[in-house]
Symmetry: D2
Subunit: 344 residues, 4 copies
C-alpha cells in the first residue's frame, strides 16, 4: 500500500532489460555511446522535431535547473506557480544554476491563469534597471496538484509569454502521464503549444533515474553541454542513462506505463469517491488529493499504508476530515488498492 | 582493445547483481532506502570511521565539487596540482559549487611537492583582504598521470596544510586502485594521513555511476545534504546508487576489481617495456603513459585499438616516438592485451 | 519643485565641509584612514554598541546585499515585504551576493505583520532538504511607503525571527528619518529591538554616497571585509567615504537633516490635505503617497514639478483621481513647497 | 615622504572644483544627470569612438570585474599575467562577477609575451566540454611592475586573442600614466590596438573614486547597466562620479596629472640610480621597483618614509640589499623626493 510517491517504485521491466543489455563491452563515455544516437533519433521522432537538441540527465531538478539556466540571465526572474516544483522542492537549484536569478510566483494553488501571468510579467518592466528583468515562463505538466493543463491552457499561457518575447519551459516530470490523460502527442503538448524547452521525465514513470531535456531550438545545444558538465551532471558511463531512455521510448512504453499509473489512480479515486471522500483537485493523472475522516487515516496508518497527510496531523479528533496526497505508480497492484480501500 | 579510459567498460557483475536485486517493491526515496543504511555502515567499517558522514552521488565531478564546496569560502583558493582533474577536466565545476572561489595551481606534471605547496599557500597571505584567502588542499590519488602517492607523501602534504589550518580533500576517483597498489587500508590512506574528506570513486572501478563522499567530521553532514540537493544531485530512486555501492563494497569487491585492473596494466606495461617502449611516469596503478614509434601507433589504430595519443598526432614521421595514455579497467581481457602487444 | 526622490538633492554643507577638509596630504587607503577611526568610534557611541563592527560602502544596495550575505546561506530564503527595496529595486543584488538565495515575500503593501511573517517562516520547514531553509528577516525602516514601524512593531517582528533563531536585518536607508519621526535613539531602533545588522543610510539624507553597515555581533567583521572587497566595494581613497560619514554624524547632523526633511514633508502633507488630497498611507517621515485629480497633476507637470505618478498616466479624464509619490529632502525650500501647493 | 601608493594622495584641484560645483540643486539620479552627458561626449572624443558605451563606477575592481563579466561566460577562463591586479588584488571579484569563471595565469613577473599567451589559449581547447573554454584576454597597462606596453606589444597580444576570436580587456587603472609615457592617444592605446573594453582609471591619478568603463561595441551597453546595478555599483547621486570624471577630462587634465606623477617618478629614479640603487624593472611610468642596502631602508623608515619593502623584512643584515616598491602620485613634492634621497 505505497502511495507516497511515484519516485519510490521499481524500474519497469522494459527499462531494466535495456540497462542489463547495455552492460557489455566498452562504449565511448560522456554521451558518445551508440545508444544515445538511438535515443536522440527516437526523441526527435516522438516530438516530431527533427532538429531538436536532446540531452539526458539523472534527476528532474537537474533537467529543470539546467534547461531554465539556458534561458535565464542572472538579472532576470522566472515566472511560475507558487506551488511549482522549482519553487518548493528544489532547494534553490534554479536560482543556483541561473546565477542568482529570481522566481516570481503566481499566486495559485494549482495552475497559473493567463491573466495572473500577464500581471506578474507586466510588473517587471523591461528596461527598468532597478527591478529584475522578465525571464522565462515555467509551466508544470502534470501540475503538483495532479491537474493536467489542456492544450488550450498551455497555449494560452505560452501566448502571454510570447507577447512579451519570453521563452517557455515545461516541467514535464510527469509528461507521459499528462499525454496519457490528454490523449495527445508529445509535439502537441510542447512546441505546437508554444513550448521552447521540455524537461521530459522518466524517473517517476518507471525509469531508474533519467530525464531528457529537449530544446526545440538547437542553438542552445553547446551552452547546455557546458552547463551540464559544469553542473557535474555529465555521466561518464552515459550509456546507462541512454539505455533507460531507450527502453522507455521503445514501442511507446512510456505511454503504456503512464496509462497504467493513471488507470491505477482512477481506480483508487473511484473507490475513494464511493467511500465518501471529497477531492481538493479533480484527479486527472496519477495523483489524488482527497479528504476523509481522521479515524480512517489512523486505520490505514496502522495497516502500513504509506502516503502524505496534506493538511493536518494523524493525531486529533477522529471524525475530523484530513486531506491526503496519494500517488500511484505503474507498479502498484489493484490488490494493493483494494486492500487500501477496504479500510474505509 | 579498449584502453581509452576506465570509465568506458561494463559494470562488474557483483555490482550489477545488487542493482538488479534492488529492483523490487517500493523503497523510500532520497537516500532513505534501507540499502543506504547498509552502505553507510559498510563505509564506516571500511574507513574505520564510525562517525563519518557518508553520501552518494553519481559523478566524480559532483563528489569533488560538493566535497570541496563544504570546505571552501567563495573568497578562498583551493590548492592543487596544475594537472588535477578539478582543474583540467571539470569545466569550472569546483569554482561554480564554491561560489566563485579560485584554484591555485602547483606547477608540476604529476604530484605536488610539500615545498611547492608550502610556497603556494604562503603566497596567499591570511588577513590580506586583497588576495584570495587560503582554502583547502586537494590531492589526487591515483594521480592523473598514473602515479600513486605513498602514505608518507600524503602525510607530508597534509602536514603542510595542517600547519596552515587548512582542510585536506582527497580526489579518490581511483581510490581502490591506489589502495591495491599500496596494499594499505582505506583509513591509512585517508584520515590517518590527515585527509578530512574523500571522494571515494566507484564509477571507474566497475560501477555504473556512483561515488561516495566521506566526511570524517560529521559536522559537515547537513551542509552537504543541502548542497547536494541544491546542486540537483539528490536521487529520488536513490536505492540504485546505494545498490551499486553495496555491491562494490561487499566482500571487498572494490579491492578485487582494482587489483584486476592494476594487474592488467602491469601486464600491459611489462609487454610494452619488453617491446622497447619508454615511460613518462612509472605506472603504479591502472594507467600507463608510454612512448613508442608512430608506425606502431598507426598499426594499432588500423587494428582498432582505442587509446589517447598524448603529445602528437597520428600523422607524421613513422619512426618518431609519440606518447600514449593507456588505461586498463577490470574487464579488459589478457587476450585483448596480447592482441595489442602483438602489433609491436 | 523636485519631489521625485531624496537621492537627487545636493550634499548638506556639514557633510561637504568634511569632504573638502579631508582633501589634503596622504592617508592610508582601504579604510585605514584616521577619519575612519573617528567614524567607528562615533557610530559605536550613536548606537551605544562599543563592540559593533562598522563599515562604509557607497550605495544602499551594497549595504543591504553585503549585510544580508553575511547572514544568508545560498540554500536559504530571506523574508521581507513584497514591496521591500531588496525585492523591487536592487536587480537581484541580494540574490547575487547571497550566492543564489531566495527572497520569500510577505504579501503586504507596506509593513509585514508578525502573523504573516510567522506563516511565511513556518512554510520553509527547517530540515526539509527539498525546500529553501529559512534565513534572515529584513525590515525596512522607513518603509517604501513612507510609514514608520513603531519600536513595538520592530520588536514584534524580531520576536518572530528570534523564535525561529533567525537573524534580523534593518534596511535603514532612511534610518535617521525614522529616528526623527519616532524620537527614539539609534540603539532603541536597532539592537534594543532585536536587530542584528543595520544598513545605516547617509546618501538619501544629505550625503554624497555613503552608507554604514553596523554589525552588533563583531564576529561578522572579517567575513564582511572579504565580501566587501570581493564585491568591489572597498574604496582605496576611503577617507572620502569616512569624511562624509564623519560630517553626517558630527553634532548629530544626521538627525537635524532628517528633521528638516520630515518637517518639509509634513508641511507639504498638511497643504495637500487642506487642498483635499487623500492619502494612501499616512505620511510619517519624508515620503507622501497622496491622491488628487489629474487636472492638477497636469498643471503641476506643466509647471515643471518633478515627482512620480503612482497608479495612472498623466493622460486621461481630468477629474479622475491619480496617486502620486512625493519625497522631500532637506534641501527643498518652503518656497518650492508653496509653489507646488499653489497649483491646487 | 609617502610613496606607498598613488591611491593615497589628495584629489587634484581640477577634479575637486567640479565636485564642489556639482553640489547645487537637484539632479536626476542613477546616471541621468546632465554632467554624465558631458562626460560621455568627452570620453567618446578622447577615445575617438563616437559610438562607445561609457559608464562610471567608483572602484577599479568594479570596473575590471564588470567589464570582464560582460565578455566572460561562467565556463570560460580569462587569460592574464600571473601578477595581474585581477589575480592578486581583487579577492576573487572577477570570478564572482563572471559567475565562477577561472583565470588562466601566464607565468611572468611582468608582461605576458604573445608566445606564452598563445600557449595558454591553445591549452584550453575550444569544444572540449571537460576543460574551461577560452575567454577574454586581460592586459594591464601600466603593468603591476611599472612597465608600459608599447603599442606594438599591445597589438601583438591582441592579435593572438583575435586569432582565437577572443575579446581583449585593458585594465587601465593607470591608463593616463601609460599614455603620458608613450605619448600616444587613447584611441591608439585601445581600439586601434585591438582592445574591446577599457577600464579607464581616475582614482589613482587625482580623482576621489571614479573609473570609466568604455565599450567600443555599444551592444554591451544594456548588459553592463544590469550588471552594474546587480553588483550594487549604480550610484544614486551619480553626478558626483560624473563631476570627478568631467574635471579629470577637462582640458586634458588627466594627461597633465599623469605627466606630473611620471616626472616625479623619473626624478626619484634618477636620484636612486645616482645613489647606486639597482632596478628590478625599468621604471616607465610612476612606479619604481629598486633595490638598495637595508641600512638605508632603516634610516628611511626612521625618518617616516612610507613605501613597501618588496622582498625582505626591515630587520636583517644592514648591508644586504632589499627591494622596494615606490609609487609617485601627482601631489608628491620635489622637496619630499629630495628629502627621501637625502638618506642615501
Amino acid at each position: 500500500m505505497f502511495f507516497a510517491s511515484d519516485n519510490a517504485g521499481p524500474v519497469h521491466p522494459k527499462v531494466m532489460e535495456r540497462v542489463i543489455a547495455a552492460n557489455s563491452d566498452h562504449q565511448m563515455p560522456y554521451g558518445k555511446d551508440t545508444i544515445m544516437d538511438e535515443v536522440r533519433t527516437r526523441i526527435r521522432e516522438v516530438f516530431e522535431a527533427p532538429e531538436a537538441a536532446v540531452y539526458l540527465v539523472a534527476t528532474g531538478t537537474a533537467a529543470n535547473a539546467l534547461a531554465l539556466a539556458c534561458y535565464t540571465q542572472p538579472w532576470q526572474t522566472i515566472f511560475c506557480s507558487k506551488v511549482a516544483h522549482i519553487e518548493e522542492d528544489e532547494c534553490n537549484a534554479p536560482e543556483f544554476y541561473a546565477g542568482g536569478a529570481k522566481l516570481s510566483l503566481i499566486d495559485t494553488d494549482d495552475k497559473m491563469t493567463p491573466a495572473a501571468l500577464e500581471a506578474a510579467i507586466a510588473k517587471q518592466a523591461v528596461g527598468n534597471v532597478h527591478g529584475a528583468q522578465p525571464g522565462p515562463v515555467s509551466i508544470t505538466q502534470v501540475t503538483e496538484r495532479g491537474s493536467v493543463h489542456s492544450l488550450a491552457e498551455i497555449k494560452a499561457l505560452s501566448a502571454v509569454a510570447k507577447a512579451h518575447d519570453l521563452p517557455v519551459h515545461l516541467d514535464g516530470a510527469r509528461f507521459a502521464n499528462a499525454m496519457a490523460a490528454l490523449g495527445c502527442t508529445a509535439a502537441q503538448m510542447s512546441w505546437k503549444s508554444g513550448v521552447d524547452v521540455v524537461s521530459f521525465g522518466g524517473t517517476k514513470n518507471g525509469c531508474m533515474g533519467v530525464e531528457a531535456v529537449v530544446f526545440f531550438d538547437p542553438a542552445k545545444a553547446w551552452e547546455f553541454e557546458l552547463r551540464r558538465k559544469r553542473g557535474a551532471h555529465l555521466f561518464s558511463k552515459h550509456r546507462f542513462l541512454s539505455a533507460q531512455m531507450a527502453g522507455y521510448l521503445q514501442d511507446d512504453a512510456f505511454i503504456e506505463i503512464a496509462q497504467t499509473a493513471n488507470a491505477n489512480a482512477a481506480y483508487l479515486a473511484e473507490g475513494l469517491r464511493a467511500a465518501g471522500a471529497t477531492f481538493l483537485h479533480e484527479p486527472q493523472a496519477n495523483m489524488i488529493f482527497a479528504r476523509w475522516p481522521r479515524a480512517i487515516h489512523q486505520k490505514l496508518h496502522d495497516a502500513g499504508a504509506r502516503y502524505y497527510l496534506w493538511d493536518g496531523p494523524l493525531e486529533g479528533p477522529a471524525n475530523e476530515d484530513v486531506a491526503a496526497r496519494l500517488v500511484c505508480d505503474w507498479s502498484i497492484g489493484r490488490d494493493q488498492i483494494d486492500a487500501f480501500l477496504s479500510h474505509f
